[in-house]
Assembly symmetry: C2
Homo-oligomer: 211 residues x 2
Amino acid sequence: MEVKSIFEGISDEDVNRMLKCFEARKMTFKKDRTIVTNIINVKMIGIILSGSANMVRYDYNGNRNIIEKLEENSVFGEVFSRLGSDISVVATSDCEVLFIEYEHIIKRCKKGCSYHSMLTDNVLKLLSQKIVYLNERLEVLSKRTIRDKLLSYFELLASSSPKRTFTIPFSYTDLADYLSVDRSAMMREIKNLKDDLVIKTNGRRITLISY
Amino acid sequence: MEVKSIFEGISDEDVNRMLKCFEARKMTFKKDRTIVTNIINVKMIGIILSGSANMVRYDYNGNRNIIEKLEENSVFGEVFSRLGSDISVVATSDCEVLFIEYEHIIKRCKKGCSYHSMLTDNVLKLLSQKIVYLNERLEVLSKRTIRDKLLSYFELLASSSPKRTFTIPFSYTDLADYLSVDRSAMMREIKNLKDDLVIKTNGRRITLISY
DNA sequence: GAAAACATGTTGCATTTGCAACTAAATAAT
DNA sequence: ATTATTTAGTTGCAAATGCAACATGTTTTC
């Protein structure tokens, strides 16, 4: 059920044919380079082919918010994410990105190519996944205290490990920006959680003891 | 571009044919009745045909969070919203709801009916809209102070009115739950915004003076 | 139209949070 | 290998927030 890429299940030849037809452009970015900024208003979507990136926004206080962590095969774009309001996507490692115009993807072509309908299905599933992800994020951010934000985020990460142990995919500095809280206040709360024996930590490796 | 309903652009006869084929069920709910709760794990989607509803969650502190306000033609369901984690949908007025199994919608039928591909396109656009909505909500909730949450939410509402005047679609009590903040603290902050001449209010009608 | 239920508005106070300013540890750069 | 730079970990303090407990106003309900 999980869709890895929007091209999942489509033969390499067909993918290449599509990419040509869509005038897709592949670009490479070095670590820490900005992949897109609010300047673009063309309805493009980007697909991370390799590497990783963060979608970030700086508010007028200068606080950075990490909106989303983009891994391999992640899709981003104005259509999906309301880019434009000072959002940018920054490479967190060297990466390759494919750009396609959104219209090409959703507009079923007149010829009714078989692969095109497969593509639509994949996009549908990707969008569903993105919605699930966004809802998880909303659930975390809707918690009123830092402690509860941490716990609900940790619960999410722990739920896929039977031992309830996981590695946070961020530095603690980045985690604070992801949870939209002050870093020092977050560190204080993590200390409290350790003192209360709710979590054990070893660097970025965390075990949820009880909830 | 805006899709009103997933059946937009499909003739009434075709819609009726589909509904039969999909074994869609129409149900009516009185105001304040629960439409769905976490119990369901069937992959159903619901469409509000008339009336309105709130998607809500109560956390373990007893705080209510309004996750989403559902109006006519809104779509909800596990696929879209990660229902299941104690989320329920409650009617805020008498309403009619149509239930369809999600699989029926995304699975392109073998016959390749013309309307089915139209339906897929509509769902695609609806999902995109939902993502935009979720991102707007994330932008609001990621603000660190109540003042900034209010301002960014008000900005969103004001942006569609040239006079920067709008009516909040909630009671103030509900607004606090929507912004995931304490009501009295929110009222205090609204008072501050008025004192600072940032907003003017007349009941639920608000004017953003400057930002 | 009286009573009940709910929404709005307000306040004091304890708690949580953000901010600023540090030190120490770990990574990256030259 | 030594020096920068970034990350992690702390702390005091002011500001923001949540909580509880009210008063008042408005809408429903019977």
